[in-house]
């Protein structure tokens, strides 16, 4: 469905992504892991059309979208839920959701009402606060709203940048559960950038670890969960301790 081939992205003179390759199938969840500065957000930004890559190709359903801007990418069905949620403080929950469907008004206006109802059914907590400004929502509610806003675009590929950032573990579990439901019930393909490795690997089908702009490790989520270097780097389990067990 989505194919990324030899992607190189720069921020001015800084070479951030250094030849990224991966393929993503429909209805799959791909977790992208890595430390700060590894290039995770830049990768999502490049896929979303925010940054134009200098080299490489992005193909979506056989169509080259490498140089497409954000508006084109969104209208083709790839939507980014940006880092730190980026909720509009003074805009109501309802208007947030409608903004998510912004680019659909010319194409399929009739289905917006149905999708709106589906989203508030998926996030019942939002239904109780449709008139409330986004700035007055808790962190978890804001994350739900950000995902709901993304869903209103009817994305085939939904990309989330650190959705668990600053949230309580129970809320993180809820959010990850919603992502799994989206994938299974609606067939949405998800790219999840996370620093919460445990939560990400639990929900993902496949994962890759990004370091210094390159994919260092990739495989199924289960494989990565067992990978000794991942265990050592992210779960604090040393090789010695592992041997002892």
């Amino acid at each position: 469905m989505l194919k990324v081939d030899n992607l190189h992205t720069y921020h001015d003179y800084l070479h951030v992504l250094k030849g990224i390759h991966f393929e993503l199938n429909e209805g799959e969840i791909l977790a992208i892991l890595g430390s700060n500065g590894a290039g995770k957000s830049t990768l999502l930004g490049t896929l979303a059309g925010v940054y134009a890559p200098r080299e490489g190709n992005i193909t979506f359903k056989g169509e080259d979208i490498t140089q497409d801007g954000v508006q084109k990418v969104v209208s083709k069905g790839i939507c980014l839920v940006p880092e730190r949620r980026q909720i509009f403080n003074s805009i109501s929950v309802r208007d947030h959701l409608l903004l998510g469907a912004y680019h659909r008004y010319k194409r399929d206006k009739k289905t917006i009402q149905q999708d709106y109802e589906n989203v508030i059914e998926m996030f019942p907590r939002l239904k109780q606060m449709l008139d409330r400004p986004g700035g007055l929502l808790s962190g978890g509610e804001q994350q739900m709203l950000a995902i709901g806003r993304g869903l209103m675009a009817r994305p085939q590929v939904l990309m989330l940048d650190e959705p668990s950032l600053g949230l309580a573990p129970l809320i993180v579990r809820d959010i990850m559960g919603i992502l799994r439901r989206l994938c299974e019930e609606m067939g949405t393909t998800i790219i999840l950038v996370e620093q919460n490795v445990k939560a990400a690997l639990k929900v993902a089908d496949r994962a890759c670890v990004l370091a210094h702009g390159r994919i260092e490790i990739s495989g199924t989520a289960e494989e990565l969960m067992q990978d000794s270097s991942i265990q050592e780097a992210y779960f604090g389990k040393s090789k010695k301790a592992k041997k002892a067990t």
Partner: protein
């Protein structure tokens, strides 16, 4: 109201504008004073202008310190076409609006690459350039001597040549402007504008074409300013560049902030407060400070701006809305909401 029906989410009732129009209609019959009418007409000019500026500043979050330039462009264009070329003032107004929109588009492309203070400075610079052009293009504008002999407006032989008649004309435009702006705000475009004001990153992420909307709203606000300027020129029948200098742009900004940039009604409130306080100051200050010059206004309005920003950063209109809501609640005697506390806190996610 069905909270999930998207066709019913905005209060598009005409009750508010109709009551407002009714009060305005009756006012000249109740208060038979040309002085009051002339003040109301001035409020109308500024309200019309600030209506567009509110869309730009309050909704799209883009500051402009050069809007007096568009006010002047409309005034001079309409004045020139009607007085020197003998065209209908209505055509002059239309031409002024088109010219203002074109200039806004040309100027907007480079300046909307800037943000915050830099954008403010760029618009200020634009205002200074246009003001200088008004002074120096003497063949066209008459320079500092001014432009004389601007004809009054007429429609099918009916002349708007006195305060009573002009009062209805200007306020008709104001009400139409308010209804037009309200429709924009309650549409997909309005949501896009507010998203730009909220966060350009998120706005971009949902696919809003930020530059396009910034340009469009800048052009629209320029057209409002131009229309107001044209009407002003045909009312006063004499204009000079000092009416469109940088201070006028700053006064416009003060009106929008005091009235409340987040509400279209704020433009009317801000204009009314500005004009009425100006009139009060003119009569009170000479009594208190007999030697005071004409510059006391800017000191007073500067202070008022600072006080407003500290104590009412959203301006007067939200305060007024709160008052109206409280009045309605008291009137309807609504019982305490029984649903309160039934906060079933349903989890949004999979509980497995």
């Amino acid at each position: 109201m069905d909270r999930t029906d998207l066709k019913k989410i905005y209060n598009n009732s005409l009750a508010g504008p109709l009551i407002f129009a009714g009060v305005l209609f009756l006012l000249p019959f109740v208060v038979q004073s040309n002085y009051i009418l002339s003040i109301m007409i001035m409020i109308g000019f500024y309200a019309l202008l600030c209506n567009g500026l509110t869309l730009l500043m309050g909704y799209a979050g883009q500051i402009s310190l050069g809007h007096a330039a568009f006010y002047g462009i409309g005034a001079y264009m309409s004045a020139y076409l009607s007085a020197k070329m003998g065209l209908s003032p209505w055509l002059g107004m239309l031409a002024g609006m088109i010219l203002a929109a074109i200039i806004a588009y040309i100027v907007g492309i480079p300046i909307f690459k800037l943000k915050g203070h830099y954008l403010a400075l760029a618009t200020l610079g634009f205002g200074v350039i246009v003001y200088t052009a008004f002074k120096e293009l003497k063949d066209f504008t008459g320079g500092l001597n001014g432009f004389f002999g601007i004809p009054t407006i007429s429609l099918f032989g009916f002349e708007f040549n006195n305060d009573f008649r002009f009062y209805y004309l200007i306020w008709l435009f104001v009400i139409l402007g308010i209804l037009f702006s309200r429709n924009i705000i309650h549409s997909r475009i309005g949501r896009a504008l507010r998203s730009i004001e909220g966060s350009e990153v998120a706005s971009d992420a949902v696919g809003v074409n930020i530059m396009k909307y910034k340009l469009q709203v800048f052009m629209l606000s320029a057209m409002f300013a131009s229309l107001s300027g044209s009407l002003y020129a045909h009312y006063i029948t004499f204009i000079n560049p000092n009416l469109f200098d940088v201070m006028t742009s700053i006064y416009l900004l003060i009106m929008v902030v005091i009235g409340g940039a987040s509400s279209i009604w704020g433009s009317v409130i801000g204009a009314a407060v500005f004009v009425l306080l100006g009139e009060i100051l003119k009569s009170v200050v000479p009594l208190v400070f007999p030697n005071a010059g004409g510059e006391f206004e800017i000191v007073f309005f500067g202070l008022l701006l600072v006080v407003t920003l500290i104590y009412m950063p959203n301006g007067l209109s939200p305060q007024l809305e709160k008052l109206i809501a409280r009045f309605r609640r008291n009137k309807e005697l609504v019982p305490a909401p029984v649903a309160a506390g039934r906060d079933g806190v349903e989890s949004g996610g999979d509980q497995s």
